[in-house]
């Protein structure tokens, strides 16, 4: 076995911890589900999940909360990974949003995110009666995430109370909940962005090609590069797309996710760039910087 140990030595402890978390959650939950957002963290989480239950397929479904505004490349990647994993996929879109024709361009990022992500997630969980939800969040992403437990308890209505978190000692997770309460489980809590890339590289994990640099049509808005992924982009007077060599550090709704100019078209180059990055990955997320503590607020309201 030592070939394997040598191959991914620094990753092995992280990997084992995550697999332990995933198994513990599944062993104790009544009706678990994995939130699959198609991004690099979700890809790693899915990979770990498949390892945890190999040779069986993971005994729970994937769920994608679809805002209707994801990159096209994400949808095709989703289909591929669902087929490969042998897991069932539940895709959910908030019907209210569909009826109102909600989108980030017409309704603003806050309203769009709240309705199509936060509210949609809560609706989807309630509809299916899931009592435990896996998410791919990491503690190094954002300050309020650094404070969150691995098994994060949610009151009825999915509210997170940062001041009433259960002490989480050793690797003993209290998985008991009462009727109406749910648990969010974060198997990647102790991973860093670099660990994620490192692991993707070591394990050869398929990722959405948008993470690698290529010539793509982008528009400069608010000092950031927004990719024109489909014909819903509302060009302003005199605005037009230009081809730039760009890639993405995170993936979400395409109008809300900024690209960075980059030549990193291989995983190795991406890792090199990550090592030298002077900006955090969430910097490309337009929703985090609305106001101080905005992530904490969103989380309290039930956002992942």
């Amino acid at each position: 076995m030592d070939h394997l140990r040598i191959k991914v030595s620094p990753m092995l402890a992280l990997e084992a911890e995550s697999i332990e978390i995933i198994r513990e959650a599944v062993a104790t939950a009544r009706n678990p589900v994995m939130l699959y957002s198609i991004g690099k963290d979700s890809s790693v989480m899915l990979h770990l999940t498949r390892k945890a239950f190999h040779p069986a397929p993971p005994p729970f479904p994937l769920m994608h909360v679809d805002t209707g505004w994801k990159f096209r490349a994400m949808y095709s990647h989703r289909e591929r990974m669902v087929a490969e994993s042998g897991m069932k996929l539940i895709s959910y879109t908030n019907p209210q949003g569909v009826a109102e024709g909600v989108g980030p361009f017409t309704h603003g990022s806050n309203y769009h995110t709240d309705l199509m992500k936060t509210q949609a997630l809560k609706q989807a969980l309630d509809t299916h009666g899931f009592d435990l939800v896996f998410g791919g969040a990491r503690r190094d992403e954002e300050k309020s995430r650094a404070k969150e437990r691995i098994f994060s308890f949610r009151a009825p209505g999915h509210r997170w109370d940062p001041k009433a978190q259960r002490p989480e000692l050793w690797n003993l997770y209290n998985t008991r909940i009462r009727e109406g309460e749910t648990i969010r489980v974060f198997p990647l809590s102790n991973w860093t962005e670099l660990d994620i890339w490192h692991y993707i590289h070591a394990e050869n994990i398929p990722i959405v090609p948008l993470y690698l640099a290529a010539e793509r049509p982008v528009v400069r808005r608010g000092g950031q590069w927004i990719m024109v992924d489909d014909d819903r982009f509302p060009f302003a007077e005199g605005e037009r797309a230009e081809m730039r060599r760009v890639r993405f550090r995170t993936l979400g709704c395409w109008p809300l996710t900024a690209a960075i100019e980059s030549d990193a078209d291989t995983l190795e180059a991406v890792i090199a760039e990550t090592l030298n990055a002077r900006d955090s990955e969430r910097q490309g997320r337009l929703i985090d910087s609305d106001e101080p503590g905005s992530m904490e607020k969103k989380k309290q309201e039930g956002y992942f």
Binding site: L12, V26, R139, A146, R166, P167, E168, W170, A264
Partner: protein, 630 residues
């Protein structure tokens, strides 16, 4: 912009392989500057991104406590409430790396009411950085946190004497604080203790040696963390795998999943399932997608076993030749983490590794004053209090003392109603060992006890008139059986009347009760695996049937000791017939009370026709035959 090229990346990745992760906590009193120091470590190890620095500047203007300077503590204090109050409430986990190591640091709160959060951070840490404000010296909270760190099993301590800039980098003051601290901490059994004078605010001796403190020649904080040996000794201990999940996708595959708590395991190795005790061998070891030959501590594996054994979540697979202990009563140290009081006798859910049972604190032996270490008497435990307690569990637990094995020695208590985590505990030792019993593969029942004694337990019920020879035969039979290594006991009417049944007289009701009690005792003894001989007149058919009905078919052997009353009266060993004839003894069987002979006894001994030895031989054959039937 890119300084590291993709071509260097394979070299870089190779370099990452040797890096180990060090988990440490920072603790100390409020305002000792813990968050600032971590902020400094993050900042100087270049773990802070430009956009985070930008928002830090904004935040510093809004919440900062450092005037015009950026407040590095705001990098760590992530909750709005913390930023508003300028304190740390909850544990924050931060990540950074140097060329030598990766770090996970838990910044833990200093306030006394958040002690449980400090313990949470300590539970997964290898090392504690204890901060002291150089102006204040060793405080109550310093001692409290040091004690908790020691209790949680942290073996390495760095004493960071902070804010040296505010005491003009005074060497004597530093040395006095260190001496003060050592006087208290030396008794706590830490493996290493390093003292470093620092300034979190200015960065002195954090990453770079301080020019202002040239009198200090020791390592910087970062330099020390990079090199300190926190060597874990797990690999030397015997294999332990708590079964977390049984993976059975189909009838052909049954995998036992879990994370190896101690030791190593290889394909073909003998393992024992605890608590049942079944022994089998490892067939395959799965590590993710790969089938491997060997795995070690910390690996998340799936094992398949050669035999189809009964094992489920909560059981523990252990090295067959070195099993762990199994017990249901423990002495443990308990940290209480709930607002409501803990009182002995109340039931809680207890989770140890993958096992959940009901547990009760039976006794608080003493509470510990965390500041002084003094033992105090206590009836209840309050929030953040620590005590040594006796604990009783509803089912036997596979465990090891916490100092030997964190995984099998640590537990949490969960409130049965609210499901809050209310206590964290560490097992010191078992009060009553169940280990030798539970190593047996079988359920411990009548059959397994009998098996151990190599015999078939039976109740030989000797009935007959007073003086018929029941007790003589029973005693002779017992001698013979004993000589053959059988486990036996004789229940004699007279003996039992001196003890168990001495409250009973000779009325009808009392005689029935007399028989009932003896029959029940005989049943317990048969259950214990013994061959029991009951020597009782038991004159009534109904009483003997009542006794027979207590036993499994074939277990009850009715032996009719058939001696004519004339012969009994002639022998009259105890002079009872004479008394009865004289009217001094009422209700005497055969005289003024009837004896109902058995209609079809298993054994009918006619003592007037058979010699005593013949009778014994017949019984021996019966017992011997039935034993060999097994």
């Amino acid at each position: 912009m890119t300084t590291l090229q993709a071509t260097d990346i394979s070299t870089f990745i190779a370099g990452q392989h040797g890096k180990e992760t060090l988990r440490f906590i920072t603790c100390g009193s409020v305002d000792d500057g813990k968050s600032t120091l971590i902020g400094r470590l993050l900042f100087e190890s270049k773990s802070i991104f430009d956009d985070q620095l930008q928002s830090l500047e904004t935040d510093s203007r809004q919440y900062g406590t450092q005037g015009e300077q950026v407040d590095l503590a705001l990098l760590v204090d992530g909750l709005q409430a913390e930023r508003e109050q300028g304190i740390t409430i909850d544990v924050a986990y931060r990540f950074f790396a140097t060329d030598r190591r990766r770090y996970i640091v838990a910044d833990t709160p200093g306030h006394e009411q958040y002690t449980r959060n400090m313990a949470t951070g300590a539970s997964t840490a290898d090392l504690a950085v204890i901060l002291i404000d150089a102006r204040k010296g060793v405080l109550t909270q310093t001692r409290r946190h040091t004690r908790i760190a020691a209790m949680m099993g942290i073996r390495h301590v760095v004493l960071a004497v902070n804010k040296m800039d505010l005491i003009d980098c005074d060497r004597a003051r530093f040395e006095a604080i260190v001496a003060d601290y050592r006087a208290f901490a030396d008794g706590l059994g830490f493996a290493s203790l390093q003292s470093i004078p620092v300034s979190g605010l200015d960065g002195d001796n954090v990453l770079h040696p301080s020019a202002r403190m040239s009198w200090y020649s020791g390592p910087t904080l970062m330099g020390y963390l990079d090199r300190v040996d926190v060597g874990r000794e797990g690999e030397r201990s015997a294999f332990r795998l708590p079964v977390q999940w049984v993976n059975r996708p189909n009838l052909d595959f049954r995998g036992f999943c879990g994370r190896i708590a101690e030791g190593r395991i290889g394909v073909g190795a003998a393992v024992r399932v605890l608590p049942s005790g079944t022994v089998t061998r490892v067939k395959e070891i799965w590590l993710g997608f790969d089938s491997v030959d060997e795995a070690g501590q910390g690996d998340a594996v799936t094992l398949t076993l050669v035999d189809e054994v009964d094992a489920s979540r909560g059981d523990v697979l252990v090295a067959a030749e070195a099993p762990a202990e199994v017990a249901d009563q423990f002495e443990a140290r308990l940290l209480w983490m709930a607002e409501h009081l803990m009182s002995p006798g109340r039931q809680y859910l207890m989770k140890l590794a993958c096992r959940e049972v009901t547990a009760t604190v039976t006794e608080i032996k003493y509470r510990e004053d965390v500041n002084t270490g003094v033992h105090l008497a206590a009836k209840t435990l309050g929030l953040n209090e620590i005590a040594t307690v006796n604990l009783s569990t509803s089912a036997p637990l596979v465990f090891e003392p916490y100092r030997l094995n964190r995984t099998l020695g640590s537990f949490i208590l969960v409130d049965k109603l609210s499901f809050e985590t209310v206590g964290a505990g560490m097992i010191d030792f078992a009060l009553r060992r169940a280990s030798n019993i539970h190593w047996q593969a079988l359920e411990v029942d009548k059959a397994s006890r009998a098996h151990l004694k190599h015999q078939t337990p039976r109740c030989l019920w000797f009935t007959g008139l007073s003086g018929s020879g029941k007790s003589t035969i029973a005693n002779l039979l017992e001698k013979r059986l004993h000589a053959e290594g059988r486990h036996t006991y004789v229940l004699d009417g007279d003996n039992v009347r001196h003890g168990l049944n001495r409250d009973l007289g000779f009325t009808e009701v009392d005689r029935v009760e007399n028989i009932r009690r003896v029959a029940e005792v005989a049943k317990l003894m048969v259950d214990a695996g013994l061959i029991v001989m009951v020597s009782f007149i038991s004159p009534f058919v109904g009483e003997r049937r009542m006794a027979r009905d207590l036993f499994a078919p074939g277990e009850f052997v009715e032996v009719y000791v058939d001696t004519p009353i004339e012969e009994c009266e002639r022998r009259d060993v105890k002079g009872l017939y004479a008394k009865a004839r004289a009217g001094a003894l009422k209700n005497f069987t055969g005289i003024d009370s009837p004896y109902e002979p058995p209609e079809c006894p298993e054994v009918h001994l006619r003592t007037a026709e058979q010699g005593m030895e013949d009778c014994i031989d017949r019984l021996m054959v019966l017992i011997g035959d039935s034993a060999s039937e097994r």
